[in-house]
């Protein structure tokens, strides 16, 4: 009878979770389109400087210049165009770094969780050591050492965040490996590798997808942090983190230089995490 009562609440929650999923996914698709089309739809050249047009306010504030919808920064570069181009870097890092981290972390987690023994000891020990590093400092260190640039950022994210996947996937794979259906697959004559791919992976996959979505949001943040401390892209190609760093230093003169890239970053990170949480609810049979 308690079940009946909670099921009623569950339906309401299900609708809300569905809406959340659609909103987050829709926003990300929209940003993806903006990023892909940026060279054609951006109103201005994101790199064009014009010191006579420096620190123009956004369109609804007095003193705004037509065409510069969200104002300009201290060098007279168009904020809106820079946000659009910045989305390219953010999403590229999210997709590439997220997928690579997922691939490596999940593989190690599956191996450790299913095979156990030495593989598990080695990988678990590695996870412990990794957890003792301050992650932000470590990523800054790596990028500083490798030298700025996209590949360095992606590498830094992969090197640091593989443990997020490995830890969770290892635990899940362990739990699955102990289940009866795995034993019966083995009895039915499947090899160990076959069992791992055909029986365990499909059951761990929902968790991996959720983690991947969350990881993409984390990658976006890491990229922003690195460009905030001026370690991201060597050229002055626009990044949200770089824009935020500039906005932070001129915050009392031109708030819009900080606010708009911050809103863009905030919404993207929120969307990735809401998408991840929404998928988690969707996959979780208890909540469904």
């Amino acid at each position: 009878m308690a079940d009946a009562a909670s099921a009623g609440g569950g339906r309401g929650r299900g609708r809300r979770a569905g809406l959340r999923l659609w909103l987050a996914g829709g926003w990300l698709l929209f940003m993806l389109a903006v990023a892909l089309l940026a060279p054609w739809i951006a109103p201005k050249d994101p790199l064009a400087q014009d010191l006579f047009l420096g620190r123009l306010p956004p369109f609804w504030v007095e003193g705004a210049e037509p065409g510069y919808w969200l104002g300009t920064d201290s060098l007279g570069r168009d904020v809106l165009s820079r946000i659009m181009h910045g989305a390219r870097v953010a999403l590229l890092v999210a997709l590439v770094a997220g997928s690579l981290t997922c691939l490596i972390g999940a593989t190690l987690g599956l191996l450790a969780g299913y095979f156990g023994g030495w593989a598990d000891i080695l990988i678990s020990r590695g996870i412990d050591i990794w957890m003792a590093f301050p992650p932000v400092l470590f990523s800054i260190l790596l990028v500083a050492v490798i030298g700025p640039g996209l590949p360095a950022i992606i590498l830094a994210i992969v090197v640091i965040d593989w443990t997020r996947f490995a830890r969770v996937v290892r635990a899940e794979a362990m739990a699955q490996a102990a289940m009866d259906y795995v034993a019966s697959a083995r009895v039915a004559g499947r090899g160990r590798a076959g069992t791992l791919l055909a029986e365990i992976l499909p059951n761990v996959l929902p968790t991996i997808v959720v983690l991947l979505t969350l990881e993409m949001g984390i990658a976006v943040i890491v990229e922003a942090i690195l460009s905030f401390v001026n370690l991201s892209i060597p050229t002055d190609s626009p990044t949200w983190g770089g824009m935020i760093a500039e906005g932070r230093s001129s915050i009392h003169q031109a708030w819009w230089v900080l606010v708009f890239p911050l809103v863009a970053l905030f919404l993207m990170v929120l969307s990735f995490s809401q998408l991840g949480e929404g998928l988690k609810d969707r996959f979780d049979p208890v909540l469904r």
Binding site: M1, A2, A4, A5
Partner: protein
């Protein structure tokens, strides 16, 4: 004059409105032990919970009254009701393993109510708690008071809970299947202990159980429930001699007897079930009619 009188008590589930109690009436006099029996889901625990004010949030009382010493609990404001119940009643719970707070020592769990609700001073509460523990034949009450629950056995914990129930000299105790979770060997001792404590304190006792064998040992009267409806309310002797309602008779026939362990058990016949279900439906229809008419 009965200490507890329940009249026309009805309750249902908030979500889909399923009826859980259908106009239940019963009474327990001081010194009386009343059994409350029925199959699982018949609502017997629900009545005890309604009296003590611990119904699950999903359940709402839709009608009737619960008179404790002449005052209707359902009309009291929540705080007043809680204090009144806390001062006059106590619960002996089903599972001694989960009914003691694992983070607190036994002593404070027994004396807390005496100090906080009844306003006793600590020393007096302590002495009384040790006395109550000794009444339940627990050796070395002082040590027990200092122990954490995990340091005691299931039987010892149930004795602590019984001591805790009787510590403030309550006038009504609800025992909710107090032996179900225990070993068979411990069950008999605990049952004897409850009966002994009840007799010593002259408490009114509402004994919720599904076991007619237990009823025959400790109760003087009993109420038989089916689907939240009282089907029979009688003395224990007359019940075991000749149950008045066909459903009670069938229930009795379905109970194993200590005197005849090899005897065959008959499940409740379909015809009897159909008849009692029809009774339930008729009562629901009457309740609907009263509401709309």
């Amino acid at each position: 004059m009965s200490f507890l009188v329940v009249r026309g008590l009805s309750a249902r589930l908030k979500g889909d409105g399923a009826r859980l109690l259908r106009g239940v009436g019963l009474s327990v006099a001081p010194g009386e032990v009343r059994g409350l029996v029925g199959e699982s889901g018949a609502g017997k625990s629900m009545i005890g919970k309604a009296v003590l004010g611990i119904l699950p949030q999903a359940v709402e009382v839709t009608g009737g009254e619960i008179l404790l010493d002449g005052t209707d609990l359902l009309t009291l404001p929540p705080g007043e009701r809680r204090r009144r119940v806390g001062a006059a009643c106590a619960l002996i719970p089903q599972d001694p393993l989960t009914a003691l707070n694992p983070a607190r020592r036994i002593g404070p769990q027994i004396t807390g109510r005496l100090v906080d609700i009844l306003g006793w001073d600590r020393a007096r509460a302590r002495t009384r708690a040790e006395e109550a523990l000794a009444e339940t034949h627990l050796p070395d009450p002082e040590r027990i008071m200092r122990a954490y629950p995990h340091q005691l056995s299931g039987g010892q914990r149930q004795r602590c809970l019984i001591a805790s129930a009787f510590v403030a000299g309550p006038r009504l105790i609800v025992a909710d299947e107090p032996t179900t979770a225990l070993d068979v060997t411990v069950q008999k001792q605990i049952l004897r202990l409850i009966a002994e404590m009840q007799a010593r304190h002259g408490t009114a006792l509402l004994f919720v159980t599904h076991d007619l064998g237990v009823v025959s040992k400790v109760c003087q009267s009993l109420t038989v429930l089916y689907a939240g409806m009282v089907v029979e309310d009688t003395g224990v002797r007359s019940f075991f001699r000749a149950p008045a309602h066909p459903y009670s008779a069938a229930l009795l026939a379905a109970t194993p007897r200590y005197t005849d362990p090899g005897g065959s058990l008959t499940p409740v016949p379909e015809a009897v079930l159909a008849a009692v279900r029809a009774e339930v439906a008729a009562r629901d229809a009457a309740a609907e009619g009263a509401r709309h008419g």
